[in-house]
Amino acid sequence: MRLVRALVTAAGLLALWQLLVWATEAPPYILPAPGRVAAAFVARIDLLLANAWVTALEIVLGIVIGTLLGIASALLLASFAPLRRWLLPVLVMTQALPVFALAPILVLWLGYGLASKVAMAVLIIFFPVTAAFLDGLARTSPGWLELARTMNASPGAMLWHIRVPAALPALASGIRVAAAVAPIGAVVGEWVGSSAGLGYLMLQANGRMQVDLMFAALLMLCAMALLLYFALDHGLRRMTRWQV
Protein backbone atom coordinates (compact mmCIF):
# COMPACT_ATOMS: atom_id res chain seq x y z
CA MET A 1 0.00 0.00 0.00
CA ARG A 2 2.70 2.42 1.04
CA LEU A 3 4.81 1.44 -1.89
CA VAL A 4 1.88 1.92 -4.21
CA ARG A 5 1.31 5.37 -2.80
CA ALA A 6 4.95 6.27 -3.18
CA LEU A 7 4.92 5.10 -6.77
CA VAL A 8 1.71 6.93 -7.58
CA THR A 9 3.04 10.13 -6.01
CA ALA A 10 6.21 9.79 -8.01
CA ALA A 11 4.23 9.22 -11.18
CA GLY A 12 2.03 12.21 -10.40
CA LEU A 13 5.02 14.43 -9.85
CA LEU A 14 6.60 13.29 -13.07
CA ALA A 15 3.37 14.04 -14.92
CA LEU A 16 3.23 17.45 -13.30
CA TRP A 17 6.83 18.09 -14.26
CA GLN A 18 6.19 17.06 -17.83
CA LEU A 19 3.12 19.26 -17.91
CA LEU A 20 5.12 22.15 -16.55
CA VAL A 21 7.66 21.65 -19.28
CA TRP A 22 4.92 21.72 -21.89
CA ALA A 23 2.91 24.54 -20.41
CA THR A 24 5.79 26.92 -19.83
CA GLU A 25 7.66 25.74 -22.87
CA ALA A 26 10.73 25.73 -20.70
CA PRO A 27 13.71 24.83 -22.85
CA PRO A 28 15.60 21.67 -21.92
CA TYR A 29 18.66 23.59 -20.72
CA ILE A 30 16.56 25.25 -18.05
CA LEU A 31 14.05 22.58 -17.17
CA PRO A 32 14.67 19.32 -18.98
CA ALA A 33 11.76 16.95 -19.48
CA PRO A 34 11.61 13.88 -17.20
CA GLY A 35 12.52 11.59 -20.06
CA ARG A 36 15.83 13.31 -20.69
CA VAL A 37 16.66 13.30 -17.01
CA ALA A 38 15.79 9.64 -16.72
CA ALA A 39 18.09 8.91 -19.62
CA ALA A 40 20.90 10.85 -17.96
CA PHE A 41 20.14 9.06 -14.71
CA VAL A 42 20.49 5.67 -16.26
CA ALA A 43 23.49 6.59 -18.35
CA ARG A 44 25.45 8.06 -15.43
CA ILE A 45 24.18 5.93 -12.60
CA ASP A 46 27.69 4.94 -11.51
CA LEU A 47 28.75 8.57 -11.30
CA LEU A 48 25.58 9.46 -9.41
CA LEU A 49 25.90 6.63 -6.95
CA ALA A 50 29.54 7.33 -6.24
CA ASN A 51 28.78 10.96 -5.46
CA ALA A 52 25.55 10.20 -3.63
CA TRP A 53 27.50 8.04 -1.28
CA VAL A 54 29.73 10.95 -0.29
CA THR A 55 26.76 13.24 0.24
CA ALA A 56 24.84 10.62 2.18
CA LEU A 57 27.71 10.29 4.60
CA GLU A 58 27.80 14.05 5.09
CA ILE A 59 24.06 14.20 5.62
CA VAL A 60 24.00 11.38 8.13
CA LEU A 61 26.92 12.79 10.07
CA GLY A 62 25.36 16.24 9.91
CA ILE A 63 22.03 14.97 11.21
CA VAL A 64 23.61 13.02 14.02
CA ILE A 65 25.95 15.76 15.17
CA GLY A 66 23.49 18.57 14.52
CA THR A 67 20.72 16.83 16.42
CA LEU A 68 22.98 15.96 19.31
CA LEU A 69 24.30 19.50 19.46
CA GLY A 70 20.78 20.88 19.20
CA ILE A 71 19.57 18.64 22.00
CA ALA A 72 22.54 19.53 24.14
CA SER A 73 22.18 23.26 23.64
CA ALA A 74 18.43 23.14 24.25
CA LEU A 75 19.03 21.22 27.47
CA LEU A 76 21.65 23.69 28.52
CA LEU A 77 19.54 26.72 27.72
CA ALA A 78 16.48 25.20 29.37
CA SER A 79 18.41 24.41 32.53
CA PHE A 80 19.92 27.82 33.01
CA ALA A 81 17.57 30.70 32.42
CA PRO A 82 20.35 33.33 32.52
CA LEU A 83 22.27 31.39 29.93
CA ARG A 84 19.19 31.41 27.74
CA ARG A 85 18.81 35.16 27.97
CA TRP A 86 22.43 35.64 26.97
CA LEU A 87 22.91 32.92 24.42
CA LEU A 88 19.60 32.74 22.59
CA PRO A 89 20.40 35.90 20.60
CA VAL A 90 23.72 34.36 19.62
CA LEU A 91 21.96 31.24 18.39
CA VAL A 92 19.52 33.31 16.39
CA MET A 93 22.44 35.14 14.86
CA THR A 94 24.10 31.94 13.76
CA GLN A 95 21.00 31.29 11.69
CA ALA A 96 21.23 34.58 9.91
CA LEU A 97 24.84 34.01 8.89
CA PRO A 98 24.92 32.98 5.28
CA VAL A 99 27.02 29.93 4.90
CA PHE A 100 29.18 31.30 2.15
CA ALA A 101 30.38 34.06 4.42
CA LEU A 102 31.50 31.52 6.93
CA ALA A 103 32.76 29.05 4.41
CA PRO A 104 36.28 30.43 4.09
CA ILE A 105 36.60 30.46 7.86
CA LEU A 106 35.26 26.95 8.19
CA VAL A 107 37.49 25.76 5.42
CA LEU A 108 40.45 27.46 7.01
CA TRP A 109 39.86 25.56 10.21
CA LEU A 110 38.46 22.32 8.88
CA GLY A 111 39.95 21.99 5.44
CA TYR A 112 38.20 20.91 2.28
CA GLY A 113 37.41 17.43 3.48
CA LEU A 114 34.36 15.91 5.04
CA ALA A 115 34.59 18.03 8.17
CA SER A 116 33.71 21.39 6.64
CA LYS A 117 30.64 20.00 4.89
CA VAL A 118 29.43 18.23 7.97
CA ALA A 119 29.96 21.49 9.84
CA MET A 120 27.80 23.26 7.30
CA ALA A 121 25.02 20.71 7.61
CA VAL A 122 25.28 20.88 11.37
CA LEU A 123 24.99 24.63 11.26
CA ILE A 124 21.77 24.40 9.31
CA ILE A 125 20.28 21.57 11.30
CA PHE A 126 20.94 22.48 14.82
CA PHE A 127 18.82 25.57 15.23
CA PRO A 128 15.48 24.00 14.29
CA VAL A 129 16.26 21.21 16.71
CA THR A 130 17.33 23.58 19.47
CA ALA A 131 14.39 25.92 18.99
CA ALA A 132 11.76 23.19 18.89
CA PHE A 133 13.17 21.25 21.82
CA LEU A 134 13.67 24.39 23.90
CA ASP A 135 10.09 25.37 23.26
CA GLY A 136 8.92 21.94 24.30
CA LEU A 137 11.03 22.02 27.44
CA ALA A 138 9.66 25.44 28.33
CA ARG A 139 6.07 24.32 27.95
CA THR A 140 6.09 21.41 30.38
CA SER A 141 2.80 21.20 32.21
CA PRO A 142 3.33 23.08 35.50
CA GLY A 143 1.40 20.44 37.43
CA TRP A 144 4.08 17.84 36.68
CA LEU A 145 6.85 20.21 37.63
CA GLU A 146 5.18 20.97 40.95
CA LEU A 147 4.72 17.27 41.60
CA ALA A 148 8.40 16.74 40.94
CA ARG A 149 9.24 19.59 43.27
CA THR A 150 7.29 18.06 46.13
CA MET A 151 9.18 14.87 45.39
CA ASN A 152 12.46 16.76 45.87
CA ALA A 153 13.66 16.17 42.37
CA SER A 154 17.00 17.76 41.64
CA PRO A 155 16.88 20.12 38.67
CA GLY A 156 18.72 17.45 36.72
CA ALA A 157 16.24 14.72 37.56
CA MET A 158 13.36 17.05 36.84
CA LEU A 159 14.86 17.77 33.45
CA TRP A 160 15.61 14.19 32.65
CA HIS A 161 12.51 12.47 33.94
CA ILE A 162 9.84 15.11 33.41
CA ARG A 163 10.73 17.90 31.05
CA VAL A 164 12.63 15.87 28.48
CA PRO A 165 10.00 13.17 28.00
CA ALA A 166 7.29 15.82 27.96
CA ALA A 167 9.20 17.69 25.25
CA LEU A 168 9.91 14.64 23.10
CA PRO A 169 7.04 15.33 20.71
CA ALA A 170 8.34 18.86 20.20
CA LEU A 171 11.85 17.54 19.68
CA ALA A 172 10.53 15.06 17.14
CA SER A 173 8.91 17.92 15.29
CA GLY A 174 12.22 19.78 15.22
CA ILE A 175 14.14 16.74 14.04
CA ARG A 176 11.68 16.31 11.21
CA VAL A 177 12.42 19.81 9.98
CA ALA A 178 16.12 19.15 10.41
CA ALA A 179 15.90 15.96 8.39
CA ALA A 180 14.23 17.85 5.59
CA VAL A 181 16.88 20.57 5.45
CA ALA A 182 19.93 18.41 6.11
CA PRO A 183 20.52 17.53 2.43
CA ILE A 184 20.65 21.15 1.42
CA GLY A 185 23.12 21.77 4.20
CA ALA A 186 25.45 19.13 2.86
CA VAL A 187 25.06 20.32 -0.71
CA VAL A 188 25.79 23.92 0.17
CA GLY A 189 28.85 22.67 1.96
CA GLU A 190 30.01 20.86 -1.13
CA TRP A 191 29.25 23.85 -3.17
CA VAL A 192 31.64 25.94 -1.17
CA GLY A 193 34.55 23.57 -1.38
CA SER A 194 34.69 19.98 -2.42
CA SER A 195 35.88 17.48 -4.90
CA ALA A 196 33.06 14.96 -4.67
CA GLY A 197 29.41 14.66 -3.74
CA LEU A 198 26.10 15.37 -5.38
CA GLY A 199 26.50 19.11 -4.84
CA TYR A 200 29.85 19.03 -6.57
CA LEU A 201 28.41 16.94 -9.36
CA MET A 202 25.59 19.42 -9.81
CA LEU A 203 27.97 22.36 -9.99
CA GLN A 204 30.12 20.54 -12.46
CA ALA A 205 27.18 19.50 -14.62
CA ASN A 206 25.85 23.02 -14.45
CA GLY A 207 29.17 24.40 -15.60
CA ARG A 208 29.22 21.97 -18.48
CA MET A 209 25.63 22.82 -19.36
CA GLN A 210 24.68 19.21 -18.75
CA VAL A 211 21.41 20.27 -17.23
CA ASP A 212 19.91 16.82 -17.50
CA LEU A 213 22.72 15.35 -15.41
CA MET A 214 22.27 18.15 -12.92
CA PHE A 215 18.60 17.30 -12.57
CA ALA A 216 19.40 13.63 -12.27
CA ALA A 217 21.62 14.50 -9.32
CA LEU A 218 18.83 16.64 -7.95
CA LEU A 219 16.47 13.68 -8.20
CA MET A 220 18.93 11.55 -6.35
CA LEU A 221 19.15 14.18 -3.65
CA CYS A 222 15.37 14.39 -3.32
CA ALA A 223 15.13 10.64 -3.05
CA MET A 224 17.71 10.65 -0.29
CA ALA A 225 15.90 13.44 1.52
CA LEU A 226 12.62 11.55 1.38
CA LEU A 227 14.15 8.32 2.54
CA LEU A 228 15.83 10.07 5.41
CA TYR A 229 12.71 11.97 6.41
CA PHE A 230 10.40 9.02 6.46
CA ALA A 231 12.88 6.72 8.13
CA LEU A 232 13.39 9.30 10.87
CA ASP A 233 9.67 9.99 11.06
CA HIS A 234 9.06 6.32 11.63
CA GLY A 235 11.62 6.20 14.41
CA LEU A 236 10.32 9.38 15.99
CA ARG A 237 6.78 8.06 16.05
CA ARG A 238 7.92 5.03 17.97
CA MET A 239 9.76 7.28 20.37
CA THR A 240 6.58 9.23 21.20
CA ARG A 241 4.18 6.33 21.04
CA TRP A 242 2.41 7.29 24.24
CA GLN A 243 1.25 10.38 22.37
CA VAL A 244 -2.25 10.55 20.99
Partner: protein, 292 residues
Protein backbone atom coordinates in the same frame (compact mmCIF):
# COMPACT_ATOMS: atom_id res chain seq x y z
CA UNK B 1 15.50 48.30 -24.90
CA UNK B 2 18.17 45.67 -24.42
CA UNK B 3 18.76 43.51 -21.41
CA UNK B 4 22.39 42.48 -21.05
CA UNK B 5 23.23 39.75 -18.55
CA UNK B 6 26.73 40.10 -17.18
CA UNK B 7 28.79 37.05 -16.25
CA UNK B 8 29.49 38.35 -12.74
CA UNK B 9 29.09 41.49 -10.72
CA UNK B 10 30.03 44.66 -12.49
CA UNK B 11 33.82 44.86 -12.58
CA UNK B 12 36.51 46.32 -14.82
CA UNK B 13 36.05 43.44 -17.29
CA UNK B 14 32.79 45.13 -18.19
CA UNK B 15 34.51 48.43 -18.90
CA UNK B 16 33.16 49.15 -22.37
CA UNK B 17 29.61 48.37 -21.33
CA UNK B 18 29.77 50.61 -18.31
CA UNK B 19 31.49 53.41 -20.19
CA UNK B 20 28.99 53.18 -23.03
CA UNK B 21 26.28 53.67 -20.48
CA UNK B 22 28.10 56.40 -18.61
CA UNK B 23 29.07 58.33 -21.71
CA UNK B 24 25.67 57.94 -23.31
CA UNK B 25 26.89 55.94 -26.32
CA UNK B 26 24.00 53.54 -26.01
CA UNK B 27 21.54 56.41 -25.94
CA UNK B 28 23.11 57.90 -28.99
CA UNK B 29 22.52 54.58 -30.74
CA UNK B 30 18.91 54.78 -29.61
CA UNK B 31 19.30 51.95 -27.13
CA UNK B 32 18.17 51.66 -23.59
CA UNK B 33 20.46 49.08 -22.03
CA UNK B 34 19.96 47.39 -18.72
CA UNK B 35 22.93 45.59 -17.17
CA UNK B 36 21.97 42.71 -14.86
CA UNK B 37 24.42 40.85 -12.68
CA UNK B 38 23.69 37.21 -11.90
CA UNK B 39 25.22 35.16 -9.12
CA UNK B 40 26.02 32.14 -11.23
CA UNK B 41 27.99 32.86 -14.42
CA UNK B 42 26.35 29.83 -16.02
CA UNK B 43 22.86 31.29 -15.88
CA UNK B 44 23.05 34.20 -18.36
CA UNK B 45 23.57 32.07 -21.51
CA UNK B 46 20.69 29.83 -20.49
CA UNK B 47 18.41 32.78 -19.97
CA UNK B 48 19.34 34.33 -23.30
CA UNK B 49 18.72 30.98 -24.93
CA UNK B 50 15.34 30.93 -23.25
CA UNK B 51 14.55 34.37 -24.58
CA UNK B 52 14.60 36.05 -21.18
CA UNK B 53 17.33 38.50 -22.11
CA UNK B 54 18.87 39.80 -25.29
CA UNK B 55 22.59 39.52 -24.77
CA UNK B 56 24.70 37.57 -22.31
CA UNK B 57 28.34 37.88 -21.44
CA UNK B 58 29.92 34.46 -21.57
CA UNK B 59 33.29 32.79 -22.05
CA UNK B 60 34.45 31.38 -25.33
CA UNK B 61 35.14 27.86 -24.00
CA UNK B 62 31.74 27.94 -22.33
CA UNK B 63 30.15 28.80 -25.66
CA UNK B 64 31.50 25.61 -27.17
CA UNK B 65 30.04 23.60 -24.29
CA UNK B 66 26.73 25.41 -24.59
CA UNK B 67 26.47 24.83 -28.28
CA UNK B 68 27.41 21.23 -27.76
CA UNK B 69 24.47 20.86 -25.38
CA UNK B 70 22.14 22.35 -27.94
CA UNK B 71 21.72 25.88 -26.65
CA UNK B 72 20.68 28.11 -29.56
CA UNK B 73 23.41 30.66 -28.93
CA UNK B 74 25.64 32.58 -31.22
CA UNK B 75 28.67 34.68 -30.43
CA UNK B 76 28.09 38.14 -31.84
CA UNK B 77 31.02 40.04 -30.40
CA UNK B 78 34.08 39.99 -28.20
CA UNK B 79 34.53 41.90 -24.99
CA UNK B 80 37.95 40.73 -23.84
CA UNK B 81 40.04 39.36 -26.65
CA UNK B 82 42.69 37.41 -24.75
CA UNK B 83 42.47 34.71 -22.15
CA UNK B 84 42.33 36.12 -18.61
CA UNK B 85 42.26 32.76 -16.95
CA UNK B 86 45.53 31.63 -15.46
CA UNK B 87 47.08 29.19 -13.06
CA UNK B 88 48.35 31.14 -10.08
CA UNK B 89 50.67 30.19 -7.27
CA UNK B 90 52.35 32.28 -4.62
CA UNK B 91 55.63 33.72 -5.75
CA UNK B 92 57.34 33.13 -2.42
CA UNK B 93 55.78 29.71 -2.18
CA UNK B 94 57.43 26.43 -3.08
CA UNK B 95 55.98 26.19 -6.60
CA UNK B 96 58.08 27.79 -9.32
CA UNK B 97 57.05 25.67 -12.23
CA UNK B 98 54.10 23.65 -13.33
CA UNK B 99 56.20 20.56 -13.00
CA UNK B 100 56.33 21.02 -9.24
CA UNK B 101 52.56 20.74 -8.98
CA UNK B 102 52.77 16.99 -8.87
CA UNK B 103 50.81 15.70 -5.90
CA UNK B 104 49.59 19.18 -4.98
CA UNK B 105 46.12 20.59 -4.41
CA UNK B 106 44.72 22.92 -7.03
CA UNK B 107 41.67 25.01 -6.27
CA UNK B 108 39.16 26.00 -8.89
CA UNK B 109 35.85 27.73 -9.23
CA UNK B 110 33.71 25.46 -11.29
CA UNK B 111 33.13 26.70 -14.81
CA UNK B 112 33.18 23.36 -16.59
CA UNK B 113 36.46 23.38 -18.49
CA UNK B 114 39.16 23.87 -15.86
CA UNK B 115 40.18 20.26 -16.08
CA UNK B 116 40.66 20.58 -19.82
CA UNK B 117 42.73 23.71 -19.40
CA UNK B 118 44.73 22.37 -16.54
CA UNK B 119 45.11 18.99 -18.18
CA UNK B 120 46.66 20.55 -21.25
CA UNK B 121 48.97 22.69 -19.17
CA UNK B 122 50.10 19.75 -17.09
CA UNK B 123 50.58 17.51 -20.07
CA UNK B 124 52.75 20.11 -21.76
CA UNK B 125 55.09 19.55 -18.81
CA UNK B 126 54.78 15.81 -18.74
CA UNK B 127 52.26 15.55 -15.92
CA UNK B 128 48.63 14.60 -16.07
CA UNK B 129 45.42 15.48 -14.22
CA UNK B 130 45.70 12.42 -12.06
CA UNK B 131 48.96 13.78 -10.63
CA UNK B 132 47.14 16.64 -8.85
CA UNK B 133 44.12 16.96 -6.62
CA UNK B 134 41.41 19.30 -7.84
CA UNK B 135 39.32 21.04 -5.19
CA UNK B 136 36.30 23.20 -5.87
CA UNK B 137 36.75 26.37 -3.78
CA UNK B 138 33.93 28.29 -5.43
CA UNK B 139 34.04 32.01 -4.55
CA UNK B 140 37.26 31.93 -2.67
CA UNK B 141 40.18 31.49 -5.06
CA UNK B 142 42.51 34.01 -3.46
CA UNK B 143 41.73 33.19 0.17
CA UNK B 144 42.23 29.51 -0.52
CA UNK B 145 45.63 30.24 -2.01
CA UNK B 146 46.65 32.78 0.60
CA UNK B 147 45.70 30.59 3.51
CA UNK B 148 47.63 27.68 2.09
CA UNK B 149 44.58 25.48 1.73
CA UNK B 150 45.60 24.87 -1.87
CA UNK B 151 48.94 25.19 -3.62
CA UNK B 152 47.62 26.77 -6.77
CA UNK B 153 44.41 27.96 -8.27
CA UNK B 154 43.15 27.68 -11.79
CA UNK B 155 40.48 30.10 -13.01
CA UNK B 156 42.18 33.11 -11.48
CA UNK B 157 41.90 36.17 -13.69
CA UNK B 158 45.28 37.70 -14.32
CA UNK B 159 43.86 41.22 -14.11
CA UNK B 160 42.08 40.51 -10.89
CA UNK B 161 43.36 37.79 -8.58
CA UNK B 162 46.97 38.87 -9.06
CA UNK B 163 46.08 42.35 -7.88
CA UNK B 164 44.08 40.90 -5.04
CA UNK B 165 47.13 39.01 -3.87
CA UNK B 166 49.24 42.09 -4.16
CA UNK B 167 46.80 44.08 -2.06
CA UNK B 168 47.18 41.45 0.61
CA UNK B 169 50.91 41.90 0.45
CA UNK B 170 51.71 38.74 -1.47
CA UNK B 171 52.96 38.37 -4.97
CA UNK B 172 51.32 35.85 -7.20
CA UNK B 173 52.97 33.93 -9.95
CA UNK B 174 50.80 33.31 -13.00
CA UNK B 175 51.15 30.58 -15.60
CA UNK B 176 49.31 31.53 -18.76
CA UNK B 177 47.37 28.76 -20.51
CA UNK B 178 48.08 30.17 -23.97
CA UNK B 179 51.79 29.81 -23.17
CA UNK B 180 51.42 26.30 -21.86
CA UNK B 181 49.81 24.37 -24.65
CA UNK B 182 46.29 25.76 -24.71
CA UNK B 183 45.09 27.54 -27.83
CA UNK B 184 44.38 31.23 -27.34
CA UNK B 185 40.75 32.21 -26.92
CA UNK B 186 38.52 35.18 -26.21
CA UNK B 187 37.89 35.30 -22.49
CA UNK B 188 34.68 37.32 -22.59
CA UNK B 189 32.27 37.35 -25.48
CA UNK B 190 28.77 38.58 -26.24
CA UNK B 191 26.27 35.89 -27.10
CA UNK B 192 22.75 36.26 -28.44
CA UNK B 193 19.95 33.95 -29.44
CA UNK B 194 20.31 32.33 -32.83
CA UNK B 195 16.97 33.69 -33.96
CA UNK B 196 17.64 37.27 -32.97
CA UNK B 197 20.60 37.91 -35.25
CA UNK B 198 18.51 40.02 -37.62
CA UNK B 199 17.73 42.54 -34.91
CA UNK B 200 19.33 45.85 -35.77
CA UNK B 201 19.73 46.65 -32.05
CA UNK B 202 22.52 44.09 -31.81
CA UNK B 203 24.66 45.85 -34.36
CA UNK B 204 23.94 49.20 -32.78
CA UNK B 205 24.93 47.70 -29.45
CA UNK B 206 28.25 46.54 -30.83
CA UNK B 207 28.82 49.92 -32.40
CA UNK B 208 28.28 51.57 -29.01
CA UNK B 209 30.69 49.30 -27.19
CA UNK B 210 33.26 49.80 -29.91
CA UNK B 211 32.98 53.54 -29.39
CA UNK B 212 33.30 53.03 -25.68
CA UNK B 213 36.41 50.90 -26.08
CA UNK B 214 38.07 53.53 -28.19
CA UNK B 215 37.04 56.23 -25.79
CA UNK B 216 38.64 54.31 -22.96
CA UNK B 217 41.85 53.94 -24.89
CA UNK B 218 41.87 57.62 -25.69
CA UNK B 219 41.04 58.83 -22.22
CA UNK B 220 42.76 56.43 -19.90
CA UNK B 221 42.77 58.66 -16.85
CA UNK B 222 39.23 59.94 -17.20
CA UNK B 223 37.91 56.54 -18.08
CA UNK B 224 38.55 55.27 -14.56
CA UNK B 225 36.65 58.20 -13.08
CA UNK B 226 33.81 57.58 -15.44
CA UNK B 227 33.79 53.87 -14.61
CA UNK B 228 33.83 54.25 -10.86
CA UNK B 229 31.05 56.79 -11.13
CA UNK B 230 28.71 54.05 -12.30
CA UNK B 231 28.17 52.61 -8.84
CA UNK B 232 29.51 53.52 -5.48
CA UNK B 233 30.80 50.07 -4.63
CA UNK B 234 33.13 50.12 -7.65
CA UNK B 235 35.41 52.72 -6.17
CA UNK B 236 38.20 50.81 -4.53
CA UNK B 237 41.87 50.10 -4.87
CA UNK B 238 41.45 46.67 -6.39
CA UNK B 239 39.22 47.90 -9.18
CA UNK B 240 41.56 50.74 -9.88
CA UNK B 241 44.48 48.36 -10.29
CA UNK B 242 42.41 45.92 -12.30
CA UNK B 243 41.20 48.69 -14.54
CA UNK B 244 44.75 49.45 -15.65
CA UNK B 245 45.46 45.79 -16.33
CA UNK B 246 42.25 45.22 -18.20
CA UNK B 247 42.40 48.23 -20.51
CA UNK B 248 44.75 46.70 -23.08
CA UNK B 249 42.75 43.53 -23.28
CA UNK B 250 39.42 44.93 -24.45
CA UNK B 251 38.69 43.87 -28.02
CA UNK B 252 39.44 46.88 -30.17
CA UNK B 253 37.07 45.66 -32.77
CA UNK B 254 34.34 43.91 -30.83
CA UNK B 255 32.28 42.74 -33.76
CA UNK B 256 35.17 41.21 -35.66
CA UNK B 257 35.43 37.43 -35.65
CA UNK B 258 38.56 35.29 -35.84
CA UNK B 259 37.08 32.08 -37.17
CA UNK B 260 40.32 30.18 -36.84
CA UNK B 261 40.53 30.87 -33.13
CA UNK B 262 37.08 29.34 -32.62
CA UNK B 263 37.86 26.32 -34.73
CA UNK B 264 41.10 25.71 -32.79
CA UNK B 265 39.48 25.93 -29.38
CA UNK B 266 36.62 23.71 -30.55
CA UNK B 267 38.94 20.99 -31.70
CA UNK B 268 40.97 21.38 -28.50
CA UNK B 269 37.87 20.80 -26.38
CA UNK B 270 36.88 17.93 -28.62
CA UNK B 271 40.25 16.29 -28.15
CA UNK B 272 39.90 16.61 -24.41
CA UNK B 273 36.51 14.91 -24.59
CA UNK B 274 34.44 17.83 -23.43
CA UNK B 275 32.41 18.19 -26.61
CA UNK B 276 31.45 16.03 -29.54
CA UNK B 277 32.53 16.60 -33.11
CA UNK B 278 32.71 20.41 -33.49
CA UNK B 279 30.11 21.96 -35.78
CA UNK B 280 30.97 24.60 -38.36
CA UNK B 281 32.09 27.81 -36.69
CA UNK B 282 29.54 29.81 -38.64
CA UNK B 283 26.72 28.07 -36.81
CA UNK B 284 27.70 29.55 -33.47
CA UNK B 285 29.88 32.55 -34.11
CA UNK B 286 29.19 35.35 -36.55
CA UNK B 287 30.37 38.75 -37.54
CA UNK B 288 27.15 40.69 -37.69
CA UNK B 289 28.60 43.31 -39.99
CA UNK B 290 29.51 40.80 -42.67
CA UNK B 291 27.66 40.64 -46.00
CA UNK B 292 24.46 42.11 -44.63
Amino acid sequence: KLTVLLDWFVNPDHGPLVIAKQQGFFEEEGLEVELVAPADPNDPPKLVAAGKADIAISYQPQLHLQVNEGLPLVRIGTLVATPLNSLVTLRDGPIDSIKQLEGKKIGFSVAGFEDALLGAMLESKGLSLSDVELVNVNFALSPALLSGQVDAVIGAFRNFELNQLELEGKKGKAFYPEEEGVPAYDELIYVAHKDSLERPELRRFLAAVERATLWILNHRGRSWDSFKGYAKELDDKLNEMAWKDTLPRFAHSPAALDTGRYARVASFLHERGLIGAPPAVSTYAVDLNEQR
